[in-house]
């Protein structure tokens, strides 16, 4: 099996990304609810958090026009494509319109597996959402397949 996961890449595990600070605006939540086909009831859908701060992400990279999602932090991996294969959310205090949250991300895991068409890398990025007062709101773990 070809070796994608080098020692240098393995040392990236645990690396943190620059934190983001983002405020939940009513306009953004309304727009999101419309996009997912739900009437806005005044609450913030948990799934909205996956996109909070996306407007601060780096410009799209690569030929596919990569996502601006904050959970898809650029990783220096020797692969061309990546795909989200799993997400896991732990949910605490429900966010509200007007909240400013701190998003702190780290590369939690990186491993190589053999896929149907050859070796793939799996990355797990963990993002913790807290209020500026330190109250925990949610933790998201996104697993991406890189090939």
């Amino acid at each position: 099996m070809a070796q994608l996961l080098t020692y240098e890449l393995a040392t990236l595990v645990g690396r943190t990304f620059p934190p983001l600070r983002a405020t939940i605006s009513e306009e953004a939540v309304r727009r999101y609810c419309r996009a997912i086909g739900r009437p806005w009831d005044g609450t913030v859908p948990w799934s909205f958090l996956a996109h909070l701060g996306a407007d601060q992400a780096a410009e799209p990279l690569g030929p596919e026009g990569l996502s601006g999602r904050p959970q898809l932090h650029p990783l220096p991996l020797p692969t061309a494509r990546r795909m989200v294969t799993a997400v896991a959310w732990e949910l605490g205090r429900r966010p509200q319109v007007g909240d400013t949250l701190l998003l702190e991300a780290r590369l939690a895991a990186l491993e190589q597996r053999e896929g149907r068409r050859g070796p793939i890398l799996l990355s797990v990025v963990e993002i913790t959402y807290t209020t500026l007062q330190g109250e925990w709101v949610a933790t998201q773990r996104s697993t991406c397949e890189h090939r």
Binding site: R34, I36, R38, P45, E64, V84, A86, A88, W89
Partner: protein, 142 residues
């Protein structure tokens, strides 16, 4: 409403058919700042070997969340949601979003339910599966 809610192991959540069209895909791209062409550009998707553009998995997760919220109402508290995306859902493809109660544990003033959720295509194959933990207030008993 309380009597109709599935609260016991084996009970099924009221399923709903979902479909994402091109307009919704573009709306979602704008609302989420996810401009990956795979989700709205059919030609780009075909160049990658897919029949047409595929639904952003973020929307699949939102559908799972909506199923729980619509079933248990605004007083229920979603505690965990874990999803695995097995195969892409194509734009304009209908999928069935459904679920069952796997476990129910009585807490002091709520019932903690573990749910098994899935998105299935017309052939019944799971495109995505999820587990959710939700706490439903009971006021001391079910």
């Amino acid at each position: 409403m309380t009597a109709a809610r599935p609260l016991h192991p084996g009970a099924t959540l009221p399923g709903v058919t979902r479909r994402c069209d091109l307009l919704q895909a573009v709306r979602l791209a704008g609302a989420t700042e996810n401009y990956h062409r795979l989700h709205f550009d059919h030609a780009h998707a075909r160049a990658l070997g897919l029949p047409r553009a595929v639904v952003d998995p973020a929307l699949l997760l939102a559908w799972f969340e909506a199923l729980v919220a619509d079933t248990y109402g605004p007083t229920a508290r979603l505690r965990q949601l874990q999803a695995r995306f097995h195969r892409p859902v194509l734009l304009d493809e209908a999928v069935r979003c459904e679920g069952t109660v796997e476990q129910a544990v009585q807490l002091a003033d709520s019932l903690r339910l573990t749910l098994r959720l899935s998105l299935r295509d017309a052939a019944g194959r799971a495109r995505a599966e999820a587990t959710a933990a939700v706490e439903v207030p009971t006021g001391g008993g079910v």
